[in-house]
């Protein structure tokens, strides 16, 4: 049982790391602000969620797990709120998304 949890935790951690990396590459390579938002969401949800889940499995059940859960809880609310607020501010600030007929910035 323990080995299974151990292996599972590493799968989670590695999966999380891959998502984080993918998100990071996305934020660098995507052409404009609105598309980059999507990349960040990957980091915020899948990346962070998997890493935290992996850590929870590592730690076993204790106060540490509670704190990790709390972090996860905070993140899952703050991430989308921040991104939403950003997108809204950008729209209000008249930032135009890049569409096909425009040149890339």
């Amino acid at each position: 049982m323990e080995t299974v949890i151990y292996i599972l935790s590493w799968i989670f951690l590695l999966g999380g790391a891959i998502f984080l990396l993918v998100g990071a590459i996305g934020i660098l390579r995507f052409p404009d602000f609105y598309t980059r938002l999507h990349a960040v969401s990957v980091c915020d949800t899948m990346g962070a969620g998997l890493v935290l889940a992996g850590l929870m499995l590592q730690g076993g059940f204790s106060l540490v797990t509670v704190k990790l859960l709390l972090i996860f809880y905070f993140m899952i609310f703050t991430g989308p709120t921040a991104v939403h607020a950003l997108a809204q501010a950008a729209l209000q600030g008249k930032l135009k998304p890049v569409v096909d007929e425009h040149e890339q910035q």
């Binding site: 660098l28 938002l37 960040v40 540490v64 972090i71 703050t78 921040a82 209000q92």
Partner: protein, 95 residues
């Protein structure tokens, strides 16, 4: 193994930083800063496990909070007012 995870996170932070330098708009920078915040939280959490003292997760909790509040603060305090949609590096206004 933890070291590999933290190395990946560091690389991601570096990429985020790059976006923060490149801009081009303020929103991109805020986005990058926000992402760097998230990544830092994860790194601190992983570091806690790496050094064998995971009880310091309080720090990560504070980071989540701070990075959220400062993102909101940028948008609410300066969001639409400070000519954010223009490219700040390109024009050379008065200062």
């Amino acid at each position: 193994m933890f070291i590999a995870i933290s190395a990946v996170i560091l690389v991601a932070i570096a990429i985020g930083l790059l976006r923060a330098f490149l801009g081009p708009t303020l929103y991109d920078r805020v986005l990058a800063a926000n992402m760097s915040g998230t990544l830092t939280v994860l790194m601190v959490a992983v570091l806690g496990f790496m050094t064998g003292r995971p009880e310091f997760l309080d720090i990560a909790l504070v980071y989540v909070l701070i990075s959220f509040v400062s993102t909101i603060a940028v948008l609410r305090v300066c969001g639409t007012g400070c000519g954010a949609s223009r490219d700040p590096e390109a024009d050379s206004g008065e200062g």
